[in-house]
């Protein structure tokens, strides 16, 4: 009998958990609405394509950040890592696709190795990924000192793909988020990863390897970082190791906006997609509004604060 009663009660705890992402969703739609009121073309397929396309690599890099945050780590190297991937894409992947692919796989492996070292040597991920970010930057400059190169044709074709009646950037965002959701929220791999972030002792007692969980999380993050780099290269038509350096902190903000936390144990792929799009739209809103050029970063900061403050308010109401 109690089970029935409990099942019928509105799941307030769940509501509270979803609240952050809901606030971000509202913020996202509010921003689209503001854009649309300033420029009615925003709501056309072309308009949506234009304003969303730049958020695609950001969203996917934010999913990578989320994988690490779900084990309680933070990645301060993701920006330079994505930049390094664009560099490899623009050089090796064009000149000899086989070697290029091998390099990219090697990068994913390097991420997994970094995760393993962090775990085995028990060092803080924050500083290890910070150190790694210098390495990614150095490697990128080494491979391609000057921004340039070109993207493989298949990638460029994808970058300029414009189906009728459907904003193309939505596809990679939805597909990547759905994959991450299947992997991290639904699948058993995700359970291991989140369990590690939540309570590593429990994982170990059940005979599962915390090391494996962390390595998987890092490996998936690395793969997502590679994907983000490929998509960024498809949009920029070349490689530039420092083209994504702003991603490092923005992706953290996107995960937080999407309802993630620093504590680990949570995977919020859909929230991250929304948080990433919201943050990506800030630039659009800024360019549509006539904000004085000097004040634009202040407005960006204020928007982030306002969305998070909204979260607090909703959280209080739901409590």
């Amino acid at each position: 009998m109690t089970n029935l009663v409990v099942a019928a009660v509105p799941p307030r705890a769940q509501l509270r958990r979803l609240a952050p992402a809901m606030v971000s969703t509202i913020a996202m739609f509010a921003m689209v609405a503001v854009c649309a009121s300033l420029q009615s073309d925003v709501l056309t397929v072309t308009g949506l394509t234009l304003i969303l396309s730049a958020t695609v690599p950001l969203v996917i890099a934010a999913q990578a950040q989320m994988m690490l945050m779900s084990v309680g780590d933070i990645d301060l190297g993701i920006g330079n890592f994505v930049g390094l991937v664009t560099v490899i894409t623009a050089t090796k992947l064009v000149s000899s696709p086989g070697t290029g692919m091998l390099f990219l796989v090697g990068l994913v492996a390097a991420y997994a190795l970094l995760g393993a070292l962090i775990h085995l040597r028990r060092v803080p991920s924050l500083i290890a990924t910070l150190g790694a970010s210098f390495v990614w930057l150095g490697l990128g400059l080494f491979v391609l000192p000057t921004p340039g190169g070109s993207t493989p044709t298949w990638l460029a074709t994808f970058g300029s793909w414009a189906p009728a009646g459907f904003p193309a950037p939505l596809l990679p965002i939805l597909v990547a988020s759905a994959l991450v959701w299947l992997l991290a929220s639904r699948g058993s791999v995700g359970v291991r990863v989140r369990a590690f972030g939540s309570n590593p002792v429990a994982l170990q007692r059940a005979g599962l390897s915390p090391l494996a969980a962390r390595v998987v999380a890092y490996g998936v993050a690395g793969a997502l970082g590679v994907l983000a780099g490929l998509l960024l290269a498809s949009q920029t038509g070349g490689g530039d190791v420092s083209s994504a350096s702003s991603y490092t902190l923005i992706t953290v903000a996107a995960v937080i906006l999407g309802g993630g936390s620093f504590r680990g144990g949570n995977a919020v792929p859909w929230g991250v997609a929304i948080g990433g799009v919201t943050l990506g739209l800030v630039s659009v809103v800024l360019s549509l509004l006539d904000v004085p050029s000097n004040m634009q970063s202040a407005v960006q900061g204020a928007i982030v604060l306002a969305v998070l403050a909204g979260r607090v308010v909703v959280g209080k109401v739901l409590r």
């Binding site: 040597r121 990128g140 400059l141 937080i256 144990g265 982030v304 607090v312």
Partner: protein, 338 residues
């Protein structure tokens, strides 16, 4: 016990800087003493920022101040403008410190009032500060005070006056941490925020003071750097990542609760000497970054470990409360949270 002390990472900053110094000496076979002297005239700025960052990191998991870079830039302009307006260097430096306090106040409001994670709150405060910097920089006319610059360049017997002053500041921070209630409270909050709260420590006040201190120190660094170099909108850019890196290589626990102010000197010297070495050898930025990153990782992986007990055998916790995750079971050297 001695092995453990050896493994304490703060030693590695000094070891690494000694190695780099020896390499420089071997390469150029001259000016060994002067190399140290010049490094000591650059290190204090990084040490000042690092001390503030260290206090913040010591406040426990998730605490980090990513607004130091914009604060340095903004404080530089404000300090120079205030000095020019009043003719007093002291007023200028105080204005720089005040600027840091003001930006930190925004972070504090967001962290404590709105429960926004520090990394995001300070990011937003920093964005606001950089807007102010750009507005100030637009048509900025004041020039840094010559007297202050000469003071910063003063090196009687090869020992920079500023280095001595910042060494005193470091000693003050050491004393602050061990001799004052604020310092002890900060260390307690960093070890376990709930435990500190139950021990009657005013956690919010301690956190507020900590972020304000970091802001003030970044502001001070900005005021001095503006006189030493020149006010510019990207005066502080490099200091964010470097300040975090020097704190951690310096041996401060990234998970909070243990601060090693002296260690910052070792790692700051290491970074500065490394720059010198790279420039001397004429390596490209690619090599410079690879070396820096590689060495950070090397020192980290070599010195890391050992502090966290094996997960299965850690002492059981008696009663987890509904609101809490069971992750607090491992207490020291745990994985970091921002």
């Amino acid at each position: 016990m001695t092995l453990r002390t050896l493994a304490r990472p703060w030693i590695w900053g000094f070891v690494a800087s000694a190695l780099v110094w020896a390499t420089i000496l071997a390469l150029s076979s001259q000016g060994g003493g002067q190399t140290v002297s010049l490094a000591l005239s650059l290190a204090p700025y990084l040490v000042i920022v690092g001390l503030g960052q260290m206090l913040v990191i010591t406040a426990g998991p998730g605490n980090i101040d990513v607004s130091v870079a914009p604060v340095i830039s903004l404080a530089g302009f404000v300090a120079v403008a205030a000095t020019a307006a009043t003719g007093s260097v002291a007023v200028g430096v105080l204005a720089g410190i005040g600027t840091g306090l003001a930006v930190a106040a925004i972070s504090v409001l967001a962290i404590l009032g709105l429960s926004i994670p520090p990394i995001i709150a300070t990011l937003a405060a920093g964005l606001i500060a950089s807007s102010l910097t750009l507005s100030l920089a637009d048509g900025f006319t004041a020039v840094p005070d010559e007297g202050l610059r000469q003071l910063l360049n003063l090196r009687p017997a090869g020992v920079p006056v500023l280095a001595v002053a910042v060494a005193v500041l470091t000693a003050l921070v050491v004393a602050l941490l061990s001799r004052t209630t604020y310092g002890r409270s900060l260390l307690a909050v960093g070890q376990s925020r709930p435990a500190a709260e139950r021990a009657g420590i005013p956690v919010a006040r301690v956190l507020a003071a900590t972020y304000l201190a970091s802001g003030a120190l970044a502001g001070l660094a900005g005021a001095l750097l503006a006189a030493y170099i020149a006010p510019s909108p990207d005066l502080g850019t490099r200091y964010l990542l470097d300040s975090v890196a020097v704190v951690v290589i310096g041996g401060t626990l990234i998970s909070g609760g243990r601060a090693v102010p002296v260690g910052i000197w070792g790692s700051a010297l290491f970074f500065i000497l490394l720059d010198g070495l790279v420039n001397l050898v004429g390596w490209s930025t690619a090599a410079q970054n690879l070396l820096k990153g590689g060495l950070v990782l090397f020192v980290l992986f070599l010195a890391g470990g050992g502090t966290r007990r094996d997960a299965t055998t850690s002492r059981p916790r008696r009663r987890p409360r509904p609101a809490t995750a069971a992750t607090a079971a491992t207490t020291t050297g745990d994985n970091t949270h921002g």
